[in-house]
Amino acid sequence: MKREFLLTAEGVSKSFDGFKAIDDLNFHLEKGELRTIIGPNGAGKSTFLDLITGRTRPDTGTIEFQGKRLTGLREYEIYRLGIGRKFQTPSVYNDHTVYENILLGLEGPRGVWASLFQRISKACDDRIHEVLKTIGLESKAGHKAGSLAHGQKQWLEIGMLLAQNAELLLVDEPAAGMSDEETAKTGELLVSLAGKHSLLVIEHDMVFVRQLGSKVTVLHQGHVLCEGSLEHVQNDERVVEVYLGRKGKATHAAT
């Protein structure tokens, strides 16, 4: 019996100058699922997102989204299939206003000719304000994005993903640099999106991971060390070893 997955990665490997960033990775994500990926520095978390979004290409293995092979597609082509990405360091257009940032993220035609003659319709304007309201930046609509605080930039970037209305949201460390209160709000937002969208969240902050309450995948040295609920994962001997750096007799040869 084969289940339908939204995103599957099978036997994916990627080396940079001999360093195996991703090593025989197998990963499956269901439609509407919220999944958190954790793992120590250098475990290959961000590289995995790079592979999904077409920033780099795998040496071996395949990545499929809704049954379509992503390998070999360009970034913007992958985006157009319905995959949105928030970067680890907030990446917004500093010289544009908050409103314009969302506008550029808004779903719709992306071609050169379309962009020359496209007008902002009432529906677009409403949608932008709806997104701004969701991310709590409505009062900043006319401000330049460069003038925002770090946490607000993170939200703005999440807002751009919301505007895009992507099927799958890849969110890299959304809570980095946020206050506790902001972090909690971000968690609420992400949880509320699950179901309607599928989300893949990379996070370090364990309080935040607990708040998300999702299935957790632990990456280590480029492959999946362990998968399950947070409790299950935290009680896994190998995970404890990897995180605390204890040299034990336990093996990390998981296959």
């Binding site: 913007y76 990446s91 010289d95 544009h96």
Partner: protein
Amino acid sequence: MKSQISKRELVLGLVAAFGLIVVIPGLNAFTPESSPLHVSNFSINLWGQYLCLAIVAVGLDLLWGYTGLISLGQMLFFSLGGYALGMHLMLKIGRLGQYKSDLPDFMVFLGYPKLPAHWVPFAEFWFSALAVVWVPGLVALLFGYLAFRSRIRGVYFSILTQALTYAACLLFFRNELTLGGNNGFTDFKTLLGFQLADPATQRSLYIASAIALIAAYVFCRWLTLTKFGKVQRAVRDSENRVLFSGYAAANYKLFVFVAAAIISGVAGALYVPQTGIINPSQMEPSKSLEAIVWVAVGGRGTLIGPILGALGVNSLKSWATQAMPAYWPLLLGGLFMIVVIFAPRGIVGLGNQVGALLQRRKSEKTEDPAP
């Protein structure tokens, strides 16, 4: 930049356009030479050339100021436009050349038996005029397609554009290219049947240059108001975000690069009948670097700045190359350094810079605790 045109900008623009297109040529044509308001034929010709260079600056600003692409080879496209019209002008010399032949002088000199086949259609003005647009456009399209597809960015892109113009310069120096070698084209007589030596013809060319400059400005200004303009500036500030937001950044860059090349080509075609000469030295990398200085001095990312920069720096050049020719390169380099260090936003940005400085002084003063 505001996303709508203000009334003030519109009025100022119309006044400037009226002054350039109507008042200045009017003062040349209808005032006696003795009048203090008279604009001499020499000045009209000189300012016509400056306006052409300002057109290049506007195109370069579209690339550099708005898209973050520093092209160090913009005068290549200018030269290609100039050569395309130059071929037509050469054929229209007819038997008035030194050798009294149907062939252009350099062909007689080099012993051509007859006109090469690819020269023949350039006898038609319309063919030449089209070539002014499509030749620079096509070169930019091919080069840009390869460069942007291969993700060549930043300083690597700049170096390649410089190499491109230098390679073209060396190519045009060769007689085998059938484009006059190192002498290029000169000694033009007529354009569309009008004598180029006639002040009225030069005045018309000045007016055409002014109209072309305003058209280039209006096009670029319009572009900044569209969603295209927003994407363009987004590419400049965060190209990765643009890519991962589903925009094919390479296509946007290619569009801008081709547009800037065509703008430069048209400027070159207007420039050549006003200077009366086009040769490969126009493609030397230093010429394109001068264009960079115009934009930097005027203020990139403002459109009006590069125009002022081109007019200002070239006026300075005309004066300096007569008053102290040996020191001109030093002066130009010094000017560039001063601007980069002390006024990174150029002349146009100075107002804001001074304003910000005063603001800071003022707030510092008010923050001082009372003694």
